[in-house]
Symmetry: C2
């Protein structure tokens, strides 16, 4: 399907766009099923938070309307929204009144091997570590060179994802996923106040776990804590949940809570 | 003057470009005088280092030829080169054979107030701190949200530049400049192994100082060391050297070594 720029079909972008110049913008990757963007409200909440923190004066209601129209035309697949600060002159100084530029791109659903969801995955131990930047932590912004470097570390198909630690060696996230672990009945996920992307599926899984009366905790997590987990899984808003079976010399069984949350995520994506 | 993309006049870019998607690329901002790109070899050395570290298979000789042709057509002004990894599919995984995409943009010379160079500047104390990422430190890559946030901190014209510290409180650089200080006859500039952009004019000034038999040192620099400096200046490859007169409650005279290096930088830019 044709891409849209500011609501109009387009296949190219101004060379003056600050998204290109500085990565000055945000993005969302949204599953589309039956003409509907899945978990749309959560995507828009994160986007609005990003606009607030980067001071991009975007009209979120207009973004919502465009996402709904675009998804209806797509039917099925994955919709990528890039919201940049729009054109700039020379220099870093942003225009605080700039409404941003909306770029919508549609793609077929990602073709991940079914075995990832069915039997679980092995995480590659990335040596690229996430830097600490509280001003940007949690946002899905366009400065993603750390993820590019991390994803370049492995080419084999044995590893469906990689695990990224922060500069202090804490467990943070996958390259394109968030991570959860279960230990003694408590569902834990890393605190993302210093780095990391606060995923939409992560937020949904925390909500679903609470609905199931499963205690949840957002905390700093060490590799040692990961080692002693009863279950480990990763998630994102496109594939849902993948059980994690192994990371370096560590291994875990695919557990019942992982399966339960995977079923819930699948149902949301297929609703 | 028209921009060029991969050697051809163009005013727009593919929406699939990874420079837009992830900030996956590098840039150089090059002064052009009398049809010549100033300090071209130093710009190309940094670009080549960036390509090596990001694994972009660019043809640096081709880039050189294009920069020379473009500068000859421009005559005077500022030439911006953006080198991205080119189009991507979905996902972070880079194609290690991609030769990159070359974007050249020409602008008139920046209209900085003459008083900056003549009387020196005041540095705004930025609260945005630079994160530590040794894998990217020194590179002029396209992930520049920290600079955007820092530059948004002040709008007044009293501050021509801002000073950025790192997460540990070390003095690192200006938002768009490198910083030097003179203390007891030694010219110091911050070590950029954790963060910061290793500027082309910084490299040239280190070289020029050594040619003048002035001892130089690249080191971690604290605010306290800055306080006790005899002279302070900032530099970049467009404006040359600006003396620094003040930062928060600190102030310095405009000293003779600053003036000497400023004259040398000016001569290079006007050669």
């Amino acid at each position: 399907m044709d891409s849209w720029v500011d609501g109009q079909p387009a296949d190219s972008l101004s060379l003056k766009d600050r998204g290109l110049a500085y990565g000055d913008g945000l993005f969302e990757t949204i599953a589309v099923h039956d003409g509907q963007p899945v978990l749309l409200d959560r995507h828009l909440v994160r986007l609005a938070d990003g606009c607030l923190r980067l001071a991009i004066a975007a009209d979120i209601q207009l973004v919502r309307q465009e996402l709904l129209s675009y998804a209806a035309a797509m039917g099925e697949g994955v919709l990528k929204l890039i919201l940049t600060r729009g054109d700039g002159l020379r220099g870093y100084a942003p225009d605080p009144t700039a409404p941003g530029r909306r770029i919508l791109q549609g793609n077929p659903a990602a073709a991940y091997p079914a075995v990832n969801a069915e039997q679980g995955i092995r995480l590659f131990p990335c040596s690229t570590r996430l830097s600490h930047q509280p001003l940007l932590a949690g946002l899905k912004h366009l400065n993603r060179l750390e993820q590019v470097l991390a994803r370049a570390e492995w080419q084999d198909s044995e590893h469906a994802e990689g695990l990224m630690l922060d500069q202090a060696g804490r467990v943070i996230e996958g390259v394109f996923s968030n991570l959860f672990l279960l230990r003694d009945g408590v569902l834990l996920t890393p605190d993302l106040k210093r780095c990391g992307v606060a995923g939409v599926m992560r937020a949904e899984i925390l909500f679903q776990a609470e609905s199931l009366a499963i205690p949840t905790q957002i905390a700093d997590i060490s590799l040692e804590q990961l080692q002693w987990a009863d279950e480990v899984f990763v998630c994102n808003s496109v594939y849902g949940v993948w059980p994690v079976r192994a990371y370096a010399a560590l291994s875990w069984p695919v557990g019942p809570l992982t399966r339960k949350l995977q079923t819930i995520a699948r149902a949301l994506l297929d609703a």
